[in-house]
């Protein structure tokens, strides 16, 4: 049963299995285990970034294709939901239309970019995606009448997903039975389905061909596989799933703006999460995204506590100042690459 659900791709390492189970339980029960606004928000972000990072790994880790346009596809999904909800009114149908529309536009754009550039060298594809992503980010900022420009768009989601909606009287295990709880489980459920779908894709014959292309594209061609077709298909799939993640992010935030979905900063974060977790393993996305989002949200607090505890000592309080959290995040990244060159999952599996 579990093997079927995971498409035969078992974690294959006891520590990794334990980590994944802990993460799954924490995310599944986040509103009950950590019932604060910030912690539930972090849990939702982890869910969404797991899907986003896994969709990027489908491209980079499995297909060997470097793209800098992943946040653009993420943004297309987010803007799809925002625009549909703004123009068609609040409702689940708007969310669905926005998500599907965003995913369709993302896949189409990926198809066009892929057909034009994946025939030639991989570096050319990377450059094209960088150029197109930058152009779209500028376009979104400039078309303020449609996209809200730099301010972005705030929109209304269905009442059933709002904090004012009560689906049961009182509380469930001390948590208000409101629309916010429903919204979290909508995000969690959708992310779980998308993740399992990606596991299915990478463990299908299509996924195997993709891996063979990553390892030796000429050999894959000489066996009889059309490399460009497979690469383009992987790009479209990855873009569509990233757009779905973007749509979920917009639903969670009820807001979309260039900084939250289209920035190059997010693109770099995705790359770091893939590398930290381990390329070419879907589980790497789970570990990478969880660690990174947790560090982004709680490293500052941790440093503040550490700084306070050594307040009487020289130099250390300055080094552990909460404002230096980005420096320590960088140090953690360097250490993780040094000690886990194949990513955390790669290291755990090799052990």
């Amino acid at each position: 049963m579990l093997k079927t659900l995971l498409s035969g791709d078992m974690p294959r390492a006891p520590i990794l299995s334990a980590l994944l189970v802990v993460i799954l339980i924490c995310l599944a029960l986040a509103p009950f285990l950590f019932p604060g606004v910030r912690s539930v928000d972090t849990a939702a972000r982890i869910c969404i970034f797991i899907v986003l990072v896994a969709s990027y790994d489908l491209l980079l880790g499995y297909g060997g294709i470097v793209s800098f346009a992943h946040t653009m596809f993420f943004g297309l999904g987010a803007y799809g939901v925002a625009l549909a909800s703004t123009h068609l009114g609040r409702g689940f149908d708007s969310l669905l239309i926005g998500t599907l529309g965003g995913a369709a536009v993302a896949a189409t754009l990926a198809l066009v970019i892929g057909l034009f550039s994946l025939r030639v060298r991989a570096i050319f594809f990377a450059m094209i995606t960088l150029a197109v992503a930058s152009a779209v980010a500028v376009l979104v900022s400039q078309l303020s009448g449609l996209t809200g420009g730099e301010d972005g768009l705030s929109f209304k989601i269905p009442r059933a997903l709002g904090p004012a909606f009560k689906f049961a009287d009182g509380e469930i295990f001390g948590v208000k039975a409101n629309g916010k709880l429903l919204k979290y489980y909508l995000i969690f459920g959708a992310c779980l389905i998308l993740f399992l779908l990606m596991l299915r894709i990478v463990n299908s014959p299509f996924g195997r061909v993709l891996q063979s292309i990553r390892e030796n594209d000429f050999r894959a061609e000489a066996i009889g596989y059309r490399v460009v077709h497979y690469r383009v298909a992987a790009t479209c799939l990855s873009a569509a799933i990233a757009a779905c993640a973007g749509a979920l992010y917009a639903i969670w935030l009820r807001y979309v703006g260039p900084d939250t979905t289209l920035s190059m900063e997010i693109m770099i974060d995705i790359l770091l999460m893939v590398v930290i977790g381990g390329m070419g393993t879907m589980y790497g996305a789970v570990i990478g995204a969880t660690l990174f989002v947790l560090a982004q949200n709680y490293l500052q607090n941790l440093l503040s506590l550490a700084g306070d505890s050594v307040a009487t000592l020289p130099l250390l309080p300055d080094l552990l100042n909460a404002d230096r959290w980005l420096l320590w995040l960088g140090v953690l990244f360097i250490l993780s690459v040094y000690f886990f060159p194949t990513g955390i999952v790669g290291r755990l599996r090799n052990n």
Partner: protein
């Protein structure tokens, strides 16, 4: 003699500014092992890669079973019935032996009877069936590379230096595999530097030099004539 399975007519291939093949003519008879011989760097590998479509012939024609395949994309040429074993083996190291074989069976699921036959030819494959191909030894990787080409019946096999750097016991296994393939009626174009293997396997031989075919004939003619060997390749087969 029946129609040849493969014919190259005046093939020229350039790689960047280098003129590698300069009018290659080659005939591969049906059901035979045809040797492609010559010193290093004379264009043997480029000839195979031009046939499979990795390098484009900018002049001349490549005919497979009478059909012009010049300029066709590599996957189309492969699916037309050519099994290619490159010199670097080209195994997919991160995939298991099983996955490598599944990938090679492009027409559909693996034919179990043929797989069992392959296990008798290369017993190591069955032993390491679930192992990552990257963990195999050099000889086992070469076996996998050839087995991958053999997993489906092909019209023609292009095999590039299958015994290079291998231990004598594994060379014997390779030679036996090629003989079994031939016994099934397959046509094989084989690049080989090991003259003992070439002598044992070849029905006909073609010698290249400087991007051209300088001699074609029966293998027996070449093996019997030491002076011819020295003139064509600068060395004698007897020395090997």
């Amino acid at each position: 003699m029946s129609d040849p399975i493969l014919k190259l007519e005046g093939v020229f291939t350039n790689i960047a500014q280098y003129h590698i093949l300069q009018g290659v003519d080659l005939t591969v008879p049906r059901g035979e092992v045809t040797m492609l011989l010559g010193r290093n760097g004379v264009g043997k590998t480029t000839t195979l890669r031009t046939i499979i479509g990795h390098w484009r012939a900018h002049q001349g024609r490549v005919l497979l079973d009478g059909t012009d395949i010049t300029g066709l994309p590599t996957p189309q040429i492969a699916r037309a019935g050519i099994g290619f074993v490159p010199e670097d083996m080209g195994i997919f190291a991160d995939l298991t032996v099983e996955e490598n074989m599944i990938l090679a069976a492009v027409s559909g699921p693996i034919d179990q009877t043929r797989l069992q036959w392959l296990f008798t030819v290369f017993p190591a494959l069955e032993t390491f069936w679930k192992k990552d191909a990257g963990t195999l030894s050099g000889g086992q990787k070469q076996m996998l590379s050839i087995a991958r080409a053999m997993i489906e019946e092909r019209t023609l096999y292009l095999i590039d230096e299958p015994t290079k750097g291998l231990a004598p016991a594994i060379i014997t296994t390779m030679a036996r595999a090629i003989k079994e393939l031939k016994a099934q009626g397959a046509s094989i174009l084989l690049v080989e530097q090991n003259f003992a293997v070439a002598k044992a396997l070849g029905d006909s031989a073609n010698v290249m030099d400087d991007g051209r075919m300088i001699w074609s004939g029966r293998m027996s003619e070449l093996t019997e004539d030491t002076a011819l060997q020295e003139r064509l390749m600068g060395l004698s087969m007897e020395a090997h």
